[in-house]
Symmetry: C2
Subunit: 445 residues, 2 copies
């Protein structure tokens, strides 16, 4: 199965999705850059998320708070004291490991079986200094959530939201992990999509269930087989200090079943703590009863890079002849590619170019006129482009083109005039076409 | 004029666009958070930029490289040595200032006229340590550009791009400024939109001119009056170490004429340096002539928060009765708002709610049923919502609604069935409506 990861690393490097960060300098501790196609795939996931959870809903508003916050935020949240990890180091080979129970029991280096140095605690927040010369210590946020708590009152005051409602944020977070790894799975610099959903205490179970279902629906929407998702109830003692209940949504990654998304019941811990430390009233006031209280919080969290990785694992397929990324069209970097059948026939190229320029104003499309048409198809299949448009000699006579669907390789003829509209309907999942080459309406589930 | 800034700070705080970062803890050194409406405005600017410069063009590809890179990147780029500022401190009041020529000549504290301590140099890159306990020093990137140079070869190898072509990135950068300020104008943590455009040396003047024009066209597209833009040619000695020509595009901000965007000719400085330090071949090979060389670079740079600020300044208008943000519809947070004429008439509310829910699946819309209709109009005008849709008693009989245009306050009746399509056409600038309440096609310029 690890074979699949090797193939994905190679494909994404070769086709400009993902490559090692600072590669010309030998990389940097498992950091990865998203190239021309990778940034599109990642943006498509983030945009779909924003559209689904903020734009299409009534009860969740967006936020973009800073990465560097006042350090009192992290004192109040418990991160300065409690966001620690335990480092084990081998006396002999000097390799470093994250101290986990198993390692503690054996007390031997897993690499060379050498003796371990007395384990050391350290905080996994990145520290830096704000201001010139002898500036104050500040931290790079290890989670986006605290922005939502710190700005809670501002948002209450400037929107018409009443309980239950959520605040959502997409942004970078940083964790000084001892052993980052597994491609883009565990990174020191990563992106999160997070919602803090504020509810009345009595309703927490109801909304925990509600967001559990929302996470599963999202997983389906991005094309992941829910049979490969396993919900792991995190027992007390292993949960974060603020959580009274946590479920990890684990996906069958090629390197094992690991956390993809998380859902936590944070209680009223954070708002209460911030009120205590800041002295500012962070209570919610019920406009009908006049009652004031700290709302309780349900927190669904999505890792952006983990979403990308799971989507890549799930969509990678090998046929006899080709590799195809069966990405949901909405997530595919290019929505279509345009080919002139032959690159040395000026009339074909001219018409194809016109169609391409025209389409490009509406959807993100690729152009390819290299080699033979079969190779071009496979080249687009490999990067997940849903539809390819070929301009041939018939096109010059009949003003129509061939449109091919990536997954079934079925083809239809479409009038040039109707091409942008047809592609948009295909993309919006209003129509699809069958093996017989006919456009059909998509049946509603 | 500074009055305008005060008004914008107040409006954006009151309506949930922008508020001080970590505010409950007394803020943090001029950091600002983007609230529910601010994040929408900012995203709309970033998305418009990406669509315009990456999706609609052939010759620019996207990238998302990490904020923390191998420190050799910053040694090669000259930032470790050269990205310094000079700090002056008053012996008496201990206020700190950025040492500029004027201050140097006077050698007096501008606040208390006290004596200045011997000025100190310091690097304005933020430093942190990677890895647990005694990790290596790394920097938070002070510009996004180096990602494009470090990944140059990867991008050449994975795309079909030939010269001239560009690599574009949107992302955070960090500068440990001595005196951040003027609201969101000078921040320590900020976002940039940047293109490195690679050309043959002989063509640099041509493409410098080309991108000069592109920047001006962008400025018009986001609704800024180009009469308030002043191009400042930066003389030698004041330019960055890598630049042979730089133009600042200055905008008449309320606090003075200051840099909004920049355009620099970086020569082949960066690629050459990275090749020298990394030992990796970063030359471009001409596929026809076989010639190998370092391309030269034209770099247009857009500040995201400065774009937001200029757009806010430009669109802020006061009438006798109302404040209106004349945002380009494409940039407005909400595209429309839906009102039932009276909140206590269930039939009106029910129909309005249906229209609202339906619209919300297509565009980002607000709902308001508080107070009287006039107040609701003004409330939407103040946040720049282009169109408001009112459902009244006529609507129940005739299946139509009133649509009002923010700027002229003109109103038309639109069939409910045609509402989503009409709003989308208005938004895409295909139609508009005149004072007489008629829909007309927009004349092409």
């Amino acid at each position: 199965m690890d074979n699949l990861l090797t193939k994905i690393v190679a494909l994404t490097k070769r086709r400009g999705f993902i490559s090692p960060g600072s590669e010309i300098y030998g990389g940097l501790a498992n950091s990865w850059d998203f190239g021309p196609l990778g940034v599109e795939l990642k943006n498509n996931i983030k945009n779909l998320w924003w559209e689904r959870f903020i734009h299409k809903r009534d009860d969740v508003v967006g936020l973009d708070s800073t990465i560097i916050m006042n350090s009192k935020v992290w004192e109040a949240s418990g991160h300065v004291k409690g966001f620690i990890d335990i480092l084990a180091e081998c006396k002999d080979c000097h390799n470093r490991f994250r101290m986990i129970d198993e390692l503690q029991n054996k007390n031997k280096c897993p690499q060379c079986k050498g003796q371990l140095i007395e384990p050391r605690q350290f905080n996994i927040m990145f520290k830096t200094n704000l201001g010139p010369v002898d500036g104050d210590i500040v931290y790079l946020r290890p989670e986006t959530a605290q922005g939502m708590f710190v700005d809670f009152k501002n948002i209450i005051d400037t929107t018409c939201q009443t309980l239950p409602f959520g605040i959502a944020q997409v942004g970078k977070a940083f964790r000084n992990e001892i052993t980052p790894g597994n491609f883009i799975f565990r990174l020191r610099e990563f992106e999160m999509m997070e919602i803090e959903y504020f509810v009345r205490e009595k309703d927490w179970k109801k909304y925990f269930e509600y967001w559990r279902k929302e996470i599963l629906d999202w997983i389906k929407e991005i094309g992941i087989d829910v049979k490969k998702i396993h919900e792991a109830e995190i027992p007390e003692g292993e949960r974060a200090h603020y959580s009274k209940r946590t479920i990890d949504f684990e996906y069958e990654f090629p390197f094992g079943q690991k956390e993809l998304y998380g859902l936590a019941y944070r209680t009223d811990f954070d708002l209460k703590k911030h009120e205590e430390v800041s002295g500012k009233n962070l209570k919610y006031k019920d406009s009908e009863t006049g009652e004031e209280f700290w709302p309780h919080v349900i927190e669904p969290t999505w890792g952006v890079e983990r979403s990308v990785l799971a989507v890549l694992c799930e969509s990678y397929h090998e046929d006899k002849e080709r590799v195809v990324l069966r990405l949901k069209p909405r997530l595919a970097p290019f929505k279509a590619a345009v080919f002139p059948l032959l690159a040395n026939k000026p009339k074909l190229v001219e018409l194809a170019r016109k169609i391409y320029e025209n389409l490009r104003q509406e959807i993100f499309v690729a152009w390819d006129d290299r080699g033979n048409i079969g190779k071009r198809y496979y080249s687009q299949d490999e990067i997940g482009t849903p539809w390819t448009v070929t301009i041939d000699f018939e096109s010059l006579k009949n003003d129509d083109v061939t449109v091919r669907w990536r997954d079934s390789m079925a083809q239809i003829r479409v009038d040039i005039e109707k091409l942008p509209e047809t592609l948009k309907k295909l993309l919006n999942n209003e129509i699809e076409f069958n093996k017989a080459g006919r456009l059909i309406k998509v049946s509603l589930k």
